[in-house]
Symmetry: C2
Subunit: 341 residues, 2 copies
């Protein structure tokens, strides 16, 4: 569909445009990529590419800019031709993340910072969906007169603590018995399942008999109540240095897109069913606020099940090659870390 020469020109235009935000003209192409063709010929080719929808002109007397379709073509050739994992980068990543063998949320926080500092775009990570996480263990610790600290561990590496009010009479030893009971009953099940079970239990009368068990169920209700996942965002200041965000409205649009953690959570939840690295270019984004941005997103997995996602968000004029490498490597690293339990 695209002859070799047109393809080279398209890629050249895209390369130029990734390097600098101005529209690229025919002369610029001949200078940087000596095809042995004159500007006039390049112009003809570019005109064809425009007709096919790969390039666009901001106005008649300007150079050309790749369209989302153009970038899509470019990204697809990238995928075909290049090993997407850059070993140098991977080892750098490993070095940086190695030190953080903490619970998954700490790792994700650090990962978002790393994504942005390596790419100079915005780095985002979201924690595993709590509802579908598998309870591995729970600990109940009385730490104030009428307050209980619940520490929840999941197979996905979540360590979460939550404070809930309790009857001051309840002793630590009874709490231990309750914890034992909960662990025996619920470990190995997802939070969702446990929640359902508890709602069921609460509606049954037999609870009234055993006070400890009824306390246990009540504690479960409070602990396993749904709470949204965490979203870690970094690199806002990095990205504002880019010439792409030179005007105030673009900045506001960007902020609208990333300020609301709920939106991001839902967005990345949506894509995290598919495995591997996905790329959304401009208008391909499902989110209205992001139709002028691009997102490279990858899931990290526990075993083979995707449990969360990390992403880089930048201008459509982003360095996809690099972004893909960074996101894919980081996701793999997190996955590996989770499997080395």
């Amino acid at each position: 569909m695209l002859d070799e020469r047109s393809k080279s020109v398209l890629l050249a235009v895209i390369q130029c445009h990734i390097n600098s935000p101005e529209p690229v003209g025919s002369r610029a192409v001949t200078k940087k990529y000596p095809f042995g063709l004159s500007p006039a010929t390049i112009r003809n080719i570019m005109s064809d590419l425009e007709e096919m929808g790969f390039l666009a002109q901001p106005h008649t007397s300007a150079g050309r800019v790749p369209t989302d379709l153009g970038y899509r073509y470019y990204v697809d050739t990238l995928k075909d031709n290049n090993p997407l994992i850059n070993n140098e980068l991977v080892s750098e990543l490993n070095n940086k993340l190695e030190v953080i063998r903490q619970d998954i949320n700490t790792v994700l926080d650090e990962a978002s910072r790393m994504l942005s500092s390596l790419s100079h775009y915005i780095g985002i990570s979201v924690s595993p969906n709590e509802a579908t996480s598998t309870l591995s263990k729970i600990e109940l610790i009385k730490y104030r007169e009428n307050q209980l600290a619940v520490i929840m561990f999941t197979d996905e590496g979540i360590i979460k603590n939550k404070v809930i009010a309790i009857d001051p009479e309840l002793s630590q030893s009874n709490l231990n018995r309750i914890a034992e009971y909960i662990n025996a009953q619920h470990a190995g099940h997802t939070v969702e399942e446990i929640k359902e079970k508890v709602i069921n239990d609460l509606s049954q009368d037999r609870l009234r008999c055993d006070d400890l068990i009824s306390q246990a169920v009540r504690i479960c209700r409070d602990v396993f109540s749904s709470s949204p996942g965490n979203v870690y965002v970094s690199g806002l200041s990095e990205v504002l240095q880019l010439p792409d965000f030179c005007d105030i409205d673009k900045i506001k649009e960007l902020l609208r897109a990333i300020e609301d953690k709920h939106i991001i959570l839902r967005l990345l939840d949506q894509v995290s069913d598919a495995a591997g690295t996905q790329i959304f270019i401009g208008s391909e984004n499902p989110l209205e606020e992001m139709k002028k941005l691009s997102m490279v997103v990858s899931t990290y997995r526990e075993g083979s099940r995707p449990i969360g996602a990390i992403a880089i968000i930048g201008p459509t004029r982003m360095n996809y090659q690099q972004a893909i490498t960074i996101v894919a490597s980081t996701a793999n690293y997190i996955t590996d870390m989770l499997s080395n339990k």
Copy 2:
């Protein structure tokens, strides 16, 4: 030093300017505040106020804008005349924060969001300095083959978990003994003190004898290693709606000021020795990046000792009255919450 009439005019100008960012002219003052004086007279007074340094002119044919000194005067009169705690607001705050009886970091996170949503400026909170916090209790939980989750509780309400690598041979019952030992040895001391003690212990040979104790000391070394406090910032998008941040450079400056959590941490650490609510207007700020912003900051306390700070940051043209109320009330609320252990 300032006669009653000049004072009224100054306050009128400030009020006008807080309501809208444009320089205020003499006619605008007479319209909104009918002193029974003509614009010409107001002009004379404003000219005097300018000479005294309370007002400034962006250019000769513009209206006047309060200087930092002008705002300082205004804020000082506020303090003298008004009850700074607005009961309505306090009860609203209570309602919103009541639900979050979690560890202090969760509360602070929520508090920063509340500060910004109530004030429409930037809300910031910093967690207590860990080093000077008093260990209340520690729990050691083996949760993976060679990993240990340490849950640390402090008197200041910090609940912190940290994962550290351990010898896979170490059993939970031995961990319990180690935890008991650590609690017996160190509870009631500050993290700083414990750290010192541990360094001391590590240099002594007697450790070699008792393997459990030496494990305990090593765990302490890892757990009580200094880690920076948390900083919670919200309201960036709120504040970008303000006409004050209409140009790109101001936004970048603002971001520079708040992006680096370390800077904020140090800044609020500095001010958190003084009790009560402090106000830094424009150039009064110790931080270079904030010389064009204002900050209203207050400390929350454990007992009578200030342990952390919360703040509102906005343009110098901020609604100080409201900001002071919000910050002071929130700080009080957090303090109260900490004392109801």
